[in-house]
């Protein structure tokens, strides 16, 4: 009798967990040239990180030749909730390649050119200034841009538009002066969603000075947030609607959202704070402020909102993101649906977009930045993803994806762990293990 009461009360009190559309079964690793035995090293690596409480949980997916050969969940998604393959994950900056793809869809429709000045679509970008410190160190002056910020500058992070949080790590007077202006003007990195539209924020941002002359800098920043609004202007649609209609729906990314509907909220994984020394705590509903970094992981539980950022807004699953990555690996097509042409994907993954700069922000020398992600240019440096031509990006709550076109291999790691910088070793090892499982 007691058993029945307990069961009944569970049925009444536990919100229904709407599961994902069917995820295809994994194939035998050997059928796609991977070793089952060697992939087991991944199990051991991940389990040790869970046991040692370095991370609470994660999903790891490895695909080769268009088939998923390894897809496992480890540890916990939330208190008393195991990580599952359909757990919803804040992919944060892994939203950026999606935004870049949306821009390239408009590019292929003939609605914009990468060489277009942004001011053609957002007039506030006209006559921008660049901040320069006075030689005596007192105050700054504002000098005119040599050329206006272009769409290509935004896609490649050569715009001179900054992220505030990087002021915690890079200490220069120009950056400090500019971030002070960002703060006064209420410019948000978007990690805590402000109660305004992205258009309002972008128009204010456009009136603030740039950090350096466009094209003469490579600095990771709010460029994709500007692109999100530019997509609204060019397409005449809300940014999230454009992405749903042109990317999520055709790619059958049925678990990807800007705001997660209430029926799927139970699947959202919590963000965990970890020192990677065994101290692991679930974050709560208070903003986490560290200098110029402000994080609000609880924003993911909002079912609606106005702020639609092209930089960090998307919440997705490992499987959905795999479908997006596979489309790129297939040079623009998945399951008979073509989003981009081969030529456009070639352009996005070309390694000559940022001139002499190297994409050292997450990677190393020997890495370049294309139109949405970092690309490995040589194998002579410390960060090695296994091949020249591999393209990758990451998200602030320790998520990663890597696409190796030569080996037709995709590796995805999705945890929800902060701070970001401590998972690099685990990710590097994951790539080594996924690469060393190749046996053909």
């Amino acid at each position: 009798m007691l058993k029945h009461v307990v069961l009944l009360s569970m049925l009444v009190t536990v919100p229904p967990r709407i599961i994902a559309d069917e995820i295809p079964a994994t194939v035998s690793p050997e059928s796609v040239g991977l070793s089952s035995l060697r992939l087991k090293n991944l199990d051991a690596l991940m389990e040790s990180h869970i046991t040692e409480k370095k991370i609470a949980g994660a999903n790891v997916l490895i695909a080769r030749k268009g088939k998923i050969a390894y897809f496992k969940s480890f540890g916990m998604a939330d208190d008393n909730k195991p990580m599952q393959r359909d757990s919803l994950i804040r992919v944060m900056s892994m939203s950026k390649p999606i935004t870049s793809t949306a821009v390239m869809i408009l590019y292929e429709q003939g609605k914009l050119l990468l060489s277009d000045p942004v001011s053609k679509y957002i007039p506030e970008f006209k006559n921008q200034k660049v901040i320069e410190m006075n030689p005596n160190g007192k105050g700054y002056k504002l000098v005119s841009v040599k050329h206006e910020v272009t769409i290509r500058d935004l896609l490649t992070h050569k715009s001179g538009i900054l992220y505030s949080f990087l002021n915690n790590y890079y200490h220069e007077p120009e950056r400090q002066a500019l971030i002070d202006l960002y703060r006064q003007a209420g410019i948000s990195d978007g990690f805590c969603r402000p109660d305004e539209t992205i258009g309002d924020m972008v128009k204010r941002l456009a009136r603030l000075p740039l950090y350096k002359q466009p094209g003469e800098v490579w600095d990771y920043g709010l460029s994709n947030d500007v692109l999100g609004y530019l997509i609204e202007v060019v397409s005449g649609m809300r940014f999230d609607e454009f992405v749903h209609q042109n990317i999520f729906t055709p790619l059958k990314m049925t678990d990807s959202y800007f705001y997660v509907p209430s029926e799927k909220q139970a699947r959202i994984a919590a963000v965990w704070k970890s020192d990677w020394q065994g101290h692991l705590t679930r974050t709560d509903d208070k903003p986490m402020i560290d200098g110029d970094l402000a994080l609000c992981p609880f924003d993911a539980y909002a079912t609606e909102g106005k702020y639609l950022t092209g930089g960090v807004n998307v919440i997705s699953t490992a499987y959905d993101y795999y479908r997006f990555a596979q489309m790129l690996l297939n040079q623009g097509e998945l399951d008979g649906v073509r989003l981009l042409s081969r030529k456009t994907v070639e352009l996005m993954t070309a390694t000559n977009q940022i001139g002499n700069f190297d994409a050292t922000f997450l990677h190393d020398h020997g890495w370049k930045f294309g139109l949405g992600f970092a690309i490995q240019q040589d194998r002579g440096h410390d960060v090695d993803a296994g091949d020249v031509g591999v393209f990758e990006w990451a998200g602030l709550y320790s998520t990663r994806f890597s696409v190796d076109p030569k080996e037709q291999k995709i590796t995805i790691f999705m945890s929800q762990t902060t701070p970001f910088g401590l998972h690099f070793g685990l990710w590097d090892k994951l790539l080594v293990l996924s690469g060393s499982a190749i046996i053909d």
């Binding site: 990468l114 206006e148 009136r207």
Partner: protein, 268 residues
């Protein structure tokens, strides 16, 4: 002539963009008589298609005297001040410009628009506040005001002050971190409708009105054109008021019925 134009276009386009010859709009349309304006939501803002009522009035007053002008809204008072003091700009527009006595000596201040201002409180925190026009009522309370606003009268009355952007002040009001905020009625109505629609009923305007926010142009006497254009602008503005076009421009933005609700007439 055609050949000459082609040569000119070719010459100016060379350094524009690396991807090929492009004539950017910035190269061909340098701002004429540029005046830098501090964003003031609902009446002067880059977020409004034509820059808002104040921008439209200024442009039209200049036009009356056959003078072209460019209003460049900026989100920060520090940037507006920078252009006045460091770049010797023709002029700046705003209210609560927070100019020093030395800076005031070097400007010609021309009022353009007078808006009614009020105090607002959050009803869940206070059922009512006994405001009758004397700041002493707010003693020991915290009032949120615009950045740059002169706060000496508050300090004398023992009122605590928070100076923030409007959205931040409204959030602070709702979070009960401040007790009252002061803002132009039109700006507040607009901000509540735009970003805080769920809280409109909870945020209450206090009667009587708190005063007025005067949006003015500060023409820079140090700029070679400053004094002359100040005079011409004043003439243009007077003609605009006399012809009734001044009120028509306001009506076209907010409707006939709202003019008296939000504005104090500007004297001819």
């Amino acid at each position: 002539m055609k050949t000459f134009l082609s040569i000119v276009l070719f010459c100016v386009s060379g350094a524009a963009l690396a991807t090929g010859p492009r004539v950017t709009s910035a190269l061909l349309t340098p701002p004429v008589n540029e005046i830098f304006a501090l964003d003031f939501p609902a009446v002067l803002s880059s977020e409004i298609a034509d820059g808002g009522i104040a921008a439209a009035l200024i442009t039209e007053a200049f036009k009356t005297e056959q003078i072209e002008s460019t209003i460049t809204p900026l989100p920060l008072q520090t940037m507006v001040a920078y252009y006045l003091t460091e770049e010797n700009a023709l002029g700046i527009v705003g209210h609560d410009l927070n100019l020093s006595p030395a800076e005031l000596k070097n400007i010609v201040l021309v009022p353009v628009l007078r808006l009614k201002e009020s105090y607002f409180y959050y009803r869940p925190k206070y059922e009512t506040l006994a405001w009758k026009g004397d700041l002493a009522v707010f003693k020991d309370l915290t009032v949120g005001v615009n950045k740059g606003e002169d706060v000496t009268t508050y300090q004398k009355a023992g009122v605590k002050i928070e100076q923030e952007r409007l959205d931040a002040r409204i959030k602070a009001l709702i979070a009960e971190k401040i007790d009252v905020l002061r803002e132009a009625d039109l700006t507040m109505t607009n901000a509540l409708a735009k970003n805080f629609s769920g809280q409109q009923a909870n945020i209450v305007r206090l009667e009587p009105s708190a005063g007025e926010a005067v949006i003015s142009i500060a023409f820079n006497k140090k700029n070679p054109k400053g004094i002359v254009l100040a005079k011409q602008f004043q003439q243009g503005l007077a003609k605009l008021i006399a012809s009734g076009k001044y009120t028509d421009i306001i009506k076209s933005h907010i409707g006939k019925a709202a003019v008296e609700q939000y504005f104090v007439p500007l004297k001819k």
